[in-house]
């Protein structure tokens, strides 16, 4: 019997304008495990994640995560990214090249604000043991993403954001990362938002999916994922 | 008689054709030289170019073959050396100006009746002199201070300018309260501040010598200008700019 997946409640009412592009997101989201976020390129998927992580200081409006206010435009309040405990796995991994794999992992562990998954648990779950002593440049694409995932987990995050983590990987590497994510979802990992424009990945990981197009988030989607992909809503 | 000489020179130059010469001049005499050349050119068709720098630098350049025809130095030592080394024409060395050393302050009340008081004042922070190693005015200043018995006492408060022009700058900007400057640096006719004209017997004469270089021994322009430096209008101009006339070996004689 696998442990219950972590659940998450996100209340959004925020906007961000970047030049000609405007992102608007409104509504309340509640999910367990992995929430998929799907949309064509340029629709604002990464922007939404960045907004949640606190990396877009020019955003306005209100964001609430599990009852905690992360941002409130009316009070001009915005919680700094290092305080949000929202970890981000970037599309380009962004491992620190001046540290080894173990160094990268410990970097997150040292700054974790609470006890999350332990070091050994993460290393085991993501099969990072043989990589620990290696330098960051000596890793393959799949290994890099797994280390990035491990690093994000070790920061005792309460929400994990994944921005197209496998899009640049070959099928074999993709498989290893997806399997790791499934394992996390089923074994007490934090709630996740998984961004992709590949329906197959989302189908595999997420029970619920949001669609975003032209900067607008469709929260009241009732179409199933297969219907959405037929309609070309993801790509 | 000088008018006659000038006319004669003009005739000679007209018959031999106008020529060109390059005059290397010590930096602090550059401005006076420009004026002298302007005066000279009003009555002559010769063309003169000016290259200015520190006397030491010019001396070194000349030793290395720099294409100068005349050297107007800030001392007599370097021209003498050039003659001894055969680089300059023997017998051409002459004094074109003699410097006047002035103790000067930008503050009108600093140097009152007794200049030694101003020098020995306990609250004095900085006394500016030209560097005795590099400038004749610095040597003169040192001689004056030693003669007054103040050299040792004032040594910690000395600041040295690379040349006499820079020394003046230090005093004019108020960074040094007083300093030994050249009379030629001071603004005329109404100088601000206070001054003491140092009696010439307190220091070795600041003779500034000119010399003709070997490559120019037949250069009409160079020869003409060298003689011009001893002419009455030239001497008048030089005196007006803050220099004393030569006692001995003046240019243009003989």
């Amino acid at each position: 019997m696998s442990p219950p997946s972590a659940s998450c409640t996100l209340r959004l009412d925020c906007q961000l304008r970047q030049g000609d592009f405007e992102l608007t997101a409104q509504g309340e989201l509640r999910w367990h495990g992995v929430l998929g976020l799907c949309g064509p390129s340029g629709s604002g998927k990464s922007t939404l994640l960045r907004l949640l992580a606190g990396l877009e200081p020019r955003a306005s409006g209100r964001i609430e995560l599990d009852g905690d206010c992360l941002q409130d435009g009316r009070r001009r309040y915005s919680l700094a990214p290092h305080r949000r405990r929202i970890a981000y796995v970037f599309q380009d991994a962004r491992l620190f090249s001046h540290l080894s794999v173990a160094g990268n992992l410990h970097y997150a562990l040292r700054r974790a604000r609470s006890c999350g998954l332990g070091f050994d648990a993460v290393v085991e779950q993501l099969h990072l043991q043989p990589l620990l002593a290696r330098g960051v440049d000596a890793l393959s694409g799949g290994e890099t993403q797994r280390v990035a995932l491990g690093r994000a987990l070790l920061s005792a995050t309460r929400l994990l954001l994944l921005d197209e983590p496998v899009s640049a990987l070959d099928p074999q590497q993709r498989e290893s990362v997806l399997r790791a994510l499934e394992s996390l979802r089923d074994n007490g990992g934090p709630p996740m938002i998984y961004v992709s424009h590949a329906p197959a990945e989302i189908m595999r990981l997420a029970r619920r999916t949001l669609y975003i197009a032209n900067g607008r988030l469709a929260l009241a989607a009732t179409a199933t994922l297969s219907q959405a992909s037929d309609l070309g809503l993801c790509t | 008689m000088n008018r006659g000489l000038v006319s004669l020179l003009l005739l000679i130059s007209a018959s031999t054709g106008a020529s060109e010469a390059t005059v290397a001049v010590a930096a602090n005499f550059t401005a006076p030289l420009q004026q002298l050349i302007a005066d000279f050119s009003a009555h002559s068709t010769h063309r003169l170019r000016v290259a200015s720098g520190s006397t030491g630098g010019l001396y070194t350049a000349i030793r290395q073959g720099a294409p100068y025809d005349l050297l107007l130095a800030a001392d007599s030592l370097r021209p003498q050396r050039l003659v001894e080394e055969g680089v300059a024409v023997a017998g051409s060395r002459c004094t074109y100006a003699v410097g006047r050393l002035i103790l000067w302050s930008a503050d009108p009340s600093a140097i009152a009746a007794d200049p030694v008081m101003a020098l020995a004042h306990p609250a004095l922070r900085h006394l500016a002199i030209a560097n005795p190693d590099t400038a004749p005015y610095g040597v003169a200043a040192r001689e004056v201070l030693e003669g007054l018995g103040l050299w040792q006492a004032l040594a910690p408060r000395l600041v040295r300018g690379m040349d006499i022009g820079q020394t003046y700058q230090m005093v004019a900007t108020g960074n040094a309260e007083i300093g030994f400057v050249a009379a030629s640096s001071l603004p005329t006719p109404d100088p601000t501040g206070s001054r003491w004209e140092v009696p010439p017997q307190l220091y070795s004469p600041l003779t500034q010598d000119a010399v003709l270089l070997q490559r120019a021994q037949d250069n009409p322009a160079a020869l003409a200008f060298l003689r011009y430096l001893g002419s009455a209008p030239a001497l008048q101009r030089i005196a007006a700019l803050g220099y004393a006339p030569a006692n001995r070996r003046a240019c243009g004689k003989a």
Partner: protein, 223 residues
């Protein structure tokens, strides 16, 4: 007279100037690299000024600025009893201004090369901005620091025009080696000029070599 006094004085000056420049220049370079206001451009141009100004002009303005008659020089005189001109402190200040672009520009380039990405990663992992700078940006920028130190040090060692204007050539205080060499040449003392020049050359070369050797051990900045 201690013939090598000017060398030690010059080394002290260069070391003091570089240290001060690292303290002032690092936050400045950081702001120029990452700041968002248009004001940055004005500062960037100002920082580059010592590159284009002849040293004597810089020296001349410093002479005016540090004069006891001016606001800055007068304030200094009041509070320390000494003039800023003709002092070692004055030379340090002059050297900081004179070598500013040689320290700030390599740092700025290094910080720009790092970009925001590693910093964003650090922030999402719980690092404060200062923490992210010290533990991510600075280590990745070590090459830039090495270049800044070498250039700042070397540039100050060779300083002549500015020191000439505001130094006053006081032995042990402001007679730095470039001045001493010039004076030796002027008084035709070529032996001393050679000795000083060779010692400066040898020392400078060793410092530069040392910094580059140490630099080999540090990783490059990610493209």
């Amino acid at each position: 007279m201690d013939d090598y006094g000017p060398l030690w004085l010059t080394l002290k000056l260069a070391a003091a100037a570089v240290l001060l420049l690292l303290v002032i220049g690092t936050p400045l370079a950081w702001w120029l690299a990452h700041g968002r206001t248009r004001l940055r451009l004005l500062f960037e141009a100002a920082v580059a000024l010592p590159l284009v100004l002849p040293p004597t002009i810089l020296g001349f303005y410093l002479l005016l600025m540090m004069s006891p008659k001016s606001a800055v020089g007068g304030w200094w005189l009041q509070h320390t009893g000494q003039t800023l001109t003709f002092s070692f402190t004055g030379l340090v200040i002059a050297s900081v201004l004179y070598s500013l672009p040689f320290v700030v520009q390599p740092l700025q380039t290094a910080f720009e090369g790092i970009g925001r990405r590693p910093l964003e990663a650090a922030w999402t992992l719980g690092a404060t901005r200062l923490d992210a700078f010290l533990t991510v940006a600075a280590p990745l920028a070590l090459r830039g620091f090495a270049t800044a130190i070498v250039l700042g040090f070397a540039h100050t060692l060779g300083e002549f025009g500015v020191v000439l204007m505001v130094g006053g050539s006081i032995p042990g205080e402001t007679r730095v080696i470039s001045i001493a060499i010039f004076e030796a040449v002027e008084r035709l003392d070529y032996a001393t000029a050679h000795a000083l020049s060779l010692s400066l050359l040898a020392f400078s070369y060793c410092v530069v070599l040392l910094v580059y050797v140490l630099n080999r051990r540090f990783p490059r900045v990610l493209p």
